[in-house]
Every structure is written in structure tokens, then in C-alpha cells.
Symmetry: C2
Subunit: 172 residues, 2 copies
């Protein structure tokens, strides 16, 4: 299946809301959006990506600061923004990233946003609250707890949620 | 070489400063630090990781929110903190992550923090200003600019720097 066909088949799908936590006016997209204000939105305050990846932009017409949007839930601005001294709260246009399709894609994503326990068989990993390696960080190691994190409290003494939406291996 | 030997050989090295941008009081560590205040620091405001990875903690004795610290420069708090609604500016203890050593480690890190141009041979990538997928984000695609980003201005119309300290492939 080529990228054009994928697009036609609804292989890209994003939903945006005007309020935080998926409240208020909503709009679904399977194609790029050049300017969300043309849909009567003042702002985007929460996002769900059902099929991605997408890239969001600070300004209309795909201009300004960029935000990678991968499969998962973004309940507020902090969930998709980068950490930088220049903090903007606009995201006014977005488009699918078509050239990201490749064969080993099945490794990404899982069904639930809640991860009640984790077993580390080797190495060290970072689990994150939000997609794209953002939000709370939990370091998970084979050498600690015998690699067994049986409850989300064991991810961190300060873990308030079992929400884990991205994970990656730590390398030297 | 086992992890104990790596530690003895100075395979883990982190330098912390009391002020932003690597200014003021500084201290180098090759072993864990249980409480930076015992070294007369009020706060850590910038970090360089020469050999990692390390994990930083909000509180002494490896308690509280966690921060993954990989090779690279962290000129201020935003460079290592996660994006979350609960923003703390403390990082008072840290330790090496010993179980992260594995054979394909050579793929990580490069000599310079400045990356003046990038050629994308396939797929789509996100380049980030800071280590560990933080800071400004630049989406780089084979399908745009014929994959050639000859100048950092081409990373983004808003790119103010050619600093790129981490990069990853985007997957569906």
C-alpha cells in the first residue's frame, strides 16, 4: 500500500478539541489542516492521535515551531510541546508524515494507555507518561527490583498514574 | 568489561554547575551523589554528561521525580526536565545507570553539538535541540527538500540554532 492509498483508507486520523482533557468543540481529520481557525477554533487544547504520525505547527500553513504527534493521547499543551525556553501555546496547522511508513512498524504502540506492571528482561529503559517521550519519566532497570515492577507505585515513589504511552531503551 | 570495572575506569562522568549555562560552582562525579546539598550546592542549574547514562532525582537519596541524563549538554532546567503539569526545579541526587551497557552502544552520540546540515536517505526523523529527545523539534523527511537540509534554517523557518543533540526515526 502506498502513502496515497493509506491516506485514502483513513490510515491517518487525528482528533482535536478546543478544551483540555478532550472537552468542548471537536474536529476529526484524515488529511492535513492548513489553519484550524478556519474551522472556528480559537486554539487546540487537547489531541488524540488514532493513526499517525503527524506533525503540528505553531502557525497556519505549516510554519513555526514543530511538534511530533504520534499515536496516543495528549490531554493538554504540555503533552506535545517541546521543552524550550521559548514556550508557545499555539498549534494552528498539522499534516500527516507520509514518509514514515516502513516495515517494522508493528513494534510501536499498544492497546491500552494504562500499564499496571512491567517486567524488564534486560538492560535499562525509560517509560514516559505521554507519547513521543514526554511527561513523567520512569527509569526501569534489570538490576533493580529484579527487573520486576509489579505495581505502578514501583515505577517511582512519586508515580501518581499508571499511564505509560511511550518507552525506549537507554543506551550508553 | 563489567559495570564495576567501567565505573572504576571513569566510564561514567557528569559535571554539574550551580548556575545556568555552565557557570558558577562546579563539581565532577564518576560515582553516584546522594545529596548535592552536602557539597554546598543550593541547586543544580546546568549539567554536562561526558559519559552516561545517568538518572537524576528530584530529592536526596534517589527519591521523587526522575530525569534521564544522556551524553550531551543541559544548559538549564528545561533541557532535562519532563513536560508535566507538576513542574519541579529540583534535582538533588543522581546515579549512573549501570545496566544500560550493551553491545550496539556505538550508535549513540557524536562529537559536535552543532549539526550544520543533514541528508535524509530514507524515512522520516525528528531531530531535537537537547539530549534525550527534548527541546526544539525538527521534522526531517525524505519526501521534503529531496531529503536535503543544507543549512539549519532549512530544519525549520524558526530554527535559531544548529544545535542538534538527539535524533530518532519516526515510525507508524
Amino acid at each position: 500500500m502506498n502513502t496515497q492509498q493509506m491516506e485514502q483508507m483513513g490510515q491517518f486520523k487525528i482528533t482535536v478539541w478546543e478544551e483540555e482533557n478532550f472537552q468542548g468543540k471537536r474536529c476529526e481529520f484524515m488529511l492535513e489542516c492548513q489553519n484550524i481557525m478556519e474551522r472556528g477554533f480559537n486554539k487546540i487544547r487537547s489531541i488524540k492521535v488514532e493513526n499517525g504520525p503527524w506533525v503540528g505547527y505553531e502557525y497556519p500553513e505549516f510554519q513555526g515551531q514543530q511538534f511530533i504527534l504520534e499515536k496516543g493521547d495528549y490531554p493538554r499543551y504540555e503533552a506535545w510541546s517541546g521543552n524550550s525556553s521559548y514556550r508557545t501555546e499555539h498549534m494552528l496547522s498539522f499534516r500527516p508524515i507520509k514518509s514514515a511508513n516502513h516495515s517494522d512498524s508493528k513494534a510501536m504502540g499498544w492497546c491500552s494507555k494504562e500499564v499496571p506492571s512491567i517486567k524488564v528482561n534486560s538492560g535499562a529503559w525509560v517509560a514516559y507518561q505521554f507519547p513521543g517521550y514526554r511527561g513523567y519519566q520512569y527509569i526501569l532497570e534489570r538490576d533493580r527490583h529484579q527487573g520486576e515492577y509489579r505495581n505502578y507505585n514501583e515505577y517511582s515513589t512519586q508515580a501518581h498514574t499508571n499511564q505509560v504511552q511511550s518507552i525506549r531503551r537507554i543506551q550508553h
